[in-house]
Every structure is written in structure tokens, then in C-alpha cells.
């Protein structure tokens, strides 16, 4: 007779125990970047709501940004780094195929031998990571999971590109997810649509450079109008599904944390979801720019730090981007 296997089981609930953030060291104004795209401060503000974006120093990479954010999150969580037993880094701007950024981050923060892996879910990466961390904790596979969304988008842009480069900034946001006595992370509503992969894309594959070195460094492009339409009118339906799945309504939440893609998209979310005026909306994009996987935790950290949001507040968060991919969940803020 075959032996009967044991399977792991975990705590009934999980929650975010602490959040940390690290923004690129340099403030880059619209005037700083408007020249090569024949644009202006006024045009960029009107189209995107961005006043400045934060960009990191040349010698700083996503691992550096991740480590800084992670240490703050671990400190805020009130645990030791050695208690982290899984590290998930979401990034599209770590320029090594292998090893993962997560393994290096785990080591540098003192979490070795934590399980460590990267995920590629672009601007939805943080919400993907929170969904995975929630599942890992509640299954008993890990007790404390560090989720990091980290990007150095400034290494992935073309200063003459008018489609997306001018939006982008650098930073990392981190969260520690662990066991909880009460529900702290609602069901994750997630998905993808690879038929629209071309709407946000890398100009060419790294492997193309082997044959055609003259292609130069790949950078990012987007088709602004279709992406705006998808984000502004399809994604609020996903956000609503996350509210429904968590058993709450727009009137029950205190905070809304959309991916910081564009202020115009954020405004559409607020309209489509009919959020009451009492809901505090993350609008970190104005000063930080679009930092892809980092944008949601950066927005959360700012609201908590500035006292606009408080520990225990219920927040709806949604990430969406290249893939196309999306993920949303309702969380209790630490």
C-alpha cells in the first residue's frame, strides 16, 4: 500500500504586517525631459498628472532599491529578517536572466536560506505577489513572506519616445505578509490577456541583439489610446469584483490604491467605481511618476507616512499592465 502523504496546512488568515518604500534619489522635472519629445511641462501635466518623477542614480539597481525598501518593511513589521522564509521580487528591470534578484535580496537583508524567486507581471506585479504571499502563508508553505515590487524604469526608456518613457520613474515598495488572527487580505482577482501583448511591449528581444547589434538597447513602448481604454473601463470591473469577493462595497473602504499609471486613469477609476469622497485615493504619481510594480506600495507608504491613511484602514488595490495582466484585492493596511 502506498504511504499516505502529509500536506501542509496553515493559519486561517493572513495580513500585511509592514510596508516599506525607497524612491529613486533624483527628482526629474517635466522640463528636464520635455526637449527630446518636443513637449512641455503643461502638456505632460495635463495628459498624465505628473509634475516630477523620481529616478535612481546610475550605479543603483533594482536589487539596491529592493533591499532598502525591504529593510524598512521588515522593521515596520516588527520581525527579524531571519523570520522571512520566502522572498518574491516582481520586476521587469532586473537585467540578468539568472540568478534572480530575489535570491540576492534575500541574502543582502539577512534572510538566507529563505525561498526566493522573481515574478514578471509588470505593473500588476505587486498585487500578484500579495496574492501569492497570502496563499503561501495560509497554506503553511511559508510563515512570513517578503513581497517587493521594484523597478529601475529609467534603464528601460528612450528619451525620444513619446508613448511611455516620460511617465516612468524608479523605486521599490515592499510588504511583509504573515499570519493573522483576523482576515487581512481578501481574495485576489487576477488574470491576463496575451492577445493584447503588443499594446505595451519591449521594442525587441535581447536575443535579437546577437544578430543585429545595431538595434541597440531595447526599450519600452505602448499604444496609449487602447491601453487607456482598457485600464479606464475594463479594470474598474476587476476592482469591483475584488470588492465583491471580499464582501465589501465602495462605501466600506477607506483607501483606494490603483497602480499609478496616469492620473487620468486614476480619475476614471474613481468615477467608474463611484467611490465616495471619504475614500482617500493614492495619487503618488504626481511626484514619483509611474514606477510599474513599485507604484502601489509606494502610494500606500506615502499615505501612511503622511497620516492620510491609518493602520487598520481597508484598502482596495489593483495593478494592471504589460501582458496584459491584472490583479486586485482588498487589504487591511498595517
Amino acid at each position: 500500500m502506498s504511504p499516505r502523504l502529509k500536506q501542509s496546512t496553515g493559519p486561517q488568515f493572513s495580513r500585511i504586517l509592514g510596508i516599506g518604500a525607497e524612491r529613486g534619489a533624483n527628482v526629474v522635472t517635466n522640463d528636464d525631459i520635455a526637449g527630446p519629445i518636443d513637449s512641455s511641462d503643461e502638456w505632460i501635466r495635463q495628459r498624465t498628472g505628473i509634475i516630477t518623477r523620481r529616478r535612481a542614480d546610475p550605479g543603483t539597481d533594482v536589487v539596491d532599491l529592493s533591499v532598502a525598501a525591504a529593510l524598512k518593511a521588515i522593521s515596520a513589521a516588527g520581525i527579524g529578517a531571519a523570520e522571512i522564509d520566502a522572498v518574491i521580487v516582481s520586476t521587469v528591470t532586473y537585467f540578468h536572466q539568472t540568478p534572480s534578484a530575489a535570491a540576492l535580496v534575500a541574502d543582502r537583508i539577512g534572510a538566507t536560506p529563505a525561498a526566493a524567486f522573481d515574478i514578471s507581471a509588470a505593473c500588476a506585479g505587486y498585487s500578484y505577489g500579495i496574492g501569492q504571499a497570502d496563499a503561501l502563508v495560509r497554506s503553511g508553505t511559508a510563515r512570513h513572506v517578503l513581497v517587493v515590487g521594484a523597478e529601475k524604469m529609467s534603464d528601460f526608456i528612450d528619451p525620444t519616445d513619446r508613448s511611455i518613457s516620460f511617465l516612468l520613474g524608479d523605486g521599490a515598495g515592499a510588504a511583509v505578509v504573515g499570519p493573522s488572527d483576523t482576515p487581512g487580505i481578501g481574495p485576489t482577482i487576477w488574470g491576463s490577456d496575451g492577445s493584447k501583448a503588443q499594446t505595451i511591449r519591449q521594442t525587441h528581444a535581447w536575443s535579437d541583439l546577437k544578430e543585429n547589434p545595431e538595434l541597440g538597447w531595447p526599450t519600452l513602448r505602448q499604444e496609449g489610446q487602447p491601453v487607456f481604454k482598457w485600464a479606464s473601463f475594463q479594470m474598474p470591473k476587476i476592482a469591483q469584483e475584488a470588492l465583491d469577493a471580499a464582501g465589501v462595497t465602495a462605501d466600506d473602504i477607506q483607501v483606494f490604491l490603483p497602480h499609478q499609471a496616469n492620473m487620468r486613469i486614476i480619475d476614471q477609476f474613481v468615477k467608474q467605481l463611484k467611490l465616495p469622497d471619504t475614500v482617500v485615493v493614492g495619487r503618488d504619481i504626481a511626484d514619483t511618476g509611474n514606477t510599474s510594480a513599485a507604484s502601489i506600495p509606494l502610494a500606500a507608504e506615502r499615505l501612511l507616512r503622511e497620516g492620510q491613511a491609518s493602520s487598520g484602514d481597508v484598502a482596495l488595490q489593483i495593478g494592471f499592465g504589460a501582458g496584459l495582466v491584472y490583479a486586485a484585492q482588498v487589504v487591511v493596511l498595517p
Binding site: Q46, R47, Q225, P226, F228, K229, S232, F233, N262, Q268
Partner: protein, 82 residues
């Protein structure tokens, strides 16, 4: 039931007024979305989406660039209903 061109123009004018704050009666067939009504590409996508919902038609992304005037949009929507 198919909407008449007059219905579509009136409905479209309401959508444009909501998006831009312009009076609905200033949204007439010959007006250019960009040059006369000062509607940028993102606002145009908002108007297109609301028009799709209101009139039960699909306006493909590739088609939007061909809708220069309000009348172009009215013609496309009335044609797409047929």
C-alpha cells in the same frame, strides 16, 4: 431599435458635454473634436467608450483616428447599427 442620426447627435453631444464641460448645443456635426472642441486623445477614448455603451455599437481602436468631426462619429455609429 436603430437610433436616427438626430438621436445619435443629441446623445453624443450629451457625452461630449459631460466629458468636456462644454454646453451640449455647441456640439454640432461640423465641429472637429480636436480643433474646435479641444478634446485630446484620452478624452476621445472616454467619449468613444461611452458612445459604444449608449448606442450598443463597437468602435474599433483603429477607427477612432478617422473620426475627425462630430458628424464623422455620428455617421460611423448610425452605420454600425445597421
Amino acid at each position: 431599435m436603430a437610433h436616427t442620426a438626430e438621436d445619435v447627435l443629441a446623445g453624443l453631444a450629451e457625452i461630449v458635454a459631460e466629458e468636456t464641460g462644454l454646453p451640449a448645443d455647441s456640439v454640432t456635426s461640423e465641429k472637429s473634436f480636436t480643433d474646435d472642441l479641444d478634446i485630446d486623445s484620452l478624452s476621445m477614448m472616454t467619449i468613444v467608450t461611452h458612445a459604444e455603451d449608449k448606442f450598443g455599437v463597437t468602435i474599433p481602436d483603429d477607427e477612432v483616428k478617422n473620426l475627425t468631426t462630430v458628424g464623422d462619429a455620428v455617421n460611423f455609429i448610425t452605420g454600425a447599427q445597421a
